[in-house]
Amino acid sequence: MADIKRLAGMLQELDDLLTRCMRCGLCQAQCPVFARTGREADVTRGKLALLSGLSREMLTDPAQVREKIDTCLLCGTCEANCPSGVKVTDIFLRARAILNGYMGLSPAQRLIFRRMLPRPKLMNALLSMSALFQGLFSKEADPVIGSSCARFNAPLIRDRHFKKLAKKPLHRQVPSVDTPAGASGLKVAFFPGCLTDKIYPGVGLAALKIFKHHQVGVYMPAGQACCGIPALSSGEADAFSSLVRQNAELFSAGKWDYLVTPCATCTATMHKLWPEYHRGSLGRVITDNIMDVSQFMIDVLGVKPFQNEADKTPVAYHDPCHLRNTMKITAQPRSLIEAGGRHTVAELPGGPSCCGSGGSFNLKHYKLSTEIGLEKARAIGATNAPVAATGCPACMLQLTDMMSREHVSIPIRHVLELYAENL
């Protein structure tokens, strides 16, 4: 009991944030997890009430609360629509750190977050080894989508239709770039992010092709570290800060106008969470300079949707939550799809919603994540578009898995890949 008091004391720092919730319950309309389970402890209002209950010593079992706090995609949909402006992501990230500090991480998480993730070189080496061997473990499930399902029921892999690690990650194909600004007069720092590097190098290559075409200079240094969100969302503040510091130093060393990424999650993390949670200097990497690539293309470069009468191919576009909710970016990726002149955007029936990926949520709550994802796959299928697109490699990974299971056999592309095809 004395211990619960200590935890309650630690949670007190959230009190001001928590009391902002007026318990109106309107988040029930937004939360994809609640939509599946119908349980109050899964919706934002419930989760906040649990934290507040724990901090007021109305509850005795922090493990139950932690499980509920972890049952969250951190998609930010509730926050973007909360009438009372509750800082939900902030509360959940802080709560995860507090609960971890109090209860500890599993040994496997400790290994990953404290030992491996903060060492980009070690991570790269380990992953390229597994890329060599993965052919042994998976069979082609749906060649059109390019996913492969696990032949063996490995604990983490279960019956997923996994996208394979790239044979040659981006950092091996293009180790680094440093080109001057061309006719555009602009130079970007390019942060591909882990998933682009290791699973979708094609997205990175597309971005580089686009920059070259529009005569934008590029600074892409070798040795980039992960943006830190897996660590932060697991409550590992130290590992997070160490990753941010490495990146901040690396990018501050170059000259550029904007730091751009093709990954919605990286953009949102760098934009919102780096300044908020990093203990230390960010050098030149400040919020105003950080952009999603499509946002840069449309808002800064001034690329326009292409007007012509030609028959266009509809593209089912999925809004990544971290662009839509966190960055409020919805128009730019759509404009970019239409800018190539060959595609038109097909909106998903039922409007935008989360794909159910949510980083490690997908690993911990595979069943829930799947239910949310399959619904998304069906919505994409219902558009009858021959191709789907989105602005985040994490969503691509989830959608590949879900569309393959739902037999929606159409390719899923990054908006940058679609645009680059036309150049």
């Binding site: 009391t19 007026m22 309309a29 649990l50 209950g53």
Partner: protein, 463 residues
Amino acid sequence: MPNDSLQKEFAAVVGQENVMTGESDLHAYSYDSAVLDQVSPAMVVRPETSEALGRVVKLCNENDLKLTVRGAGTNLSGGTIPHSGGIVCLTNALNKVLEINEDDLYAVVQPGVITAQFAAQVAAKGLLYPPDPGSQAVSTLGGNVAENAGGLRALKYGVTKDYVMGVDFFDVNGELVHSGSKTVKCVTGYNLSGLMVASEGTLGVFEKLILKLVPPPKAIKSMMAEFDDVGAASQTVSSIIAAKIVPATLEFMDNFTIKTVENFRGAGLNTEAAALLLIEVDGHPAQVEDDASQVEAICKEHGAGKVTVAKDANQRAAVWQARRDALPALARVKPTTVLEDATVPRSKIPDMMQALKRIAREYKLTIGTFGHAGDGNLHPTILTDIRDKEEWKRVEKAIDAIFDEALALGGTLSGEHGIGLAKSKYMHLEYGTAAIEYSRKMKSVMDPKNILNPGKMLGPLLT
């Protein structure tokens, strides 16, 4: 606390995965949208079929377990705060629209259907389900009926009760009682459906609802009028009605709310204005044109500084955005938001506004007022911090004073938010003891063991 064997019985009825007994799950059902003390139930069940719902009610009665039915838990009066040792029964798995009948203009739904989702399905068939409470994106139709929810369109279209044609409900023995009909006319027996409306889960558990639908208006016109005097604004309201025009919506915002909304959205509202009226007329296109210009003229006659008539869908959306922003904007000012619901005859709005000003001053509180001017249903919103014990005492006194004032002006305790736990202690002020006793006697016959949401509406539990 139901023992293990009872838990098993409930599990046999609703399925193990639909029984919750963990501390955290129970805590999540200890509150609703009212600012009241939390109480955790002993068990929560989530039946997926009508049959299971009926059997849950029966099991509760047989075992003397107090039962609180819960839709979305958004009521503002504590209607879903359970009893310690009691059962919470969720309706959100009973969420099917069973029929939308376009020939006879009715729909049949399960009680857990979400209001806005239902309204959208109805709209897709070219019809209208008018009741539109501010919580419609999440509230359930069962909750709407049990609270007799109102909404923005209430002035012209009425409230939920005006759309309830029939309610099938379980009595405490788990027997399904049919009432009402799919016909416009029905005088077969007592009006039991009417009895279920606003019953707050105390008389029966709804299994199915028959709801009336109407054809939507062919044209709509919205406008916003600024006044530098609250009295003039409410005179305008009376004059519009006196001119035999019934707008679909006639909303009011006071100066504090205007300033807060403008601060929040920056849409260019006049922060000097003492009051805003937001008005929408609908109907046949020719009549709408006519009504709109007449309403505009009436506003000007009463000294409206500026009247903006929405020219297109975007401008109409901007008018309603301002109204929709009222609660979110106010809610951000202070940690705790107490949304009150006192309602007066519409001619008494200026007096009520005066009284609210006095009450805010007397108890040193911040109160922003907006609401449904057309029907006298104001939402004085007290902005406070429940953690400030001394201020909270003043808040409680101010709430008492608001009710006294509303009743003195010939009004009512609650226009649409219900009585529940929050206002049961004021009931006798409005109706005297005879009405309460009559209601208690009635309940004691229908629910002899007093298991159906006891303590709500009729006052504290006597046993």
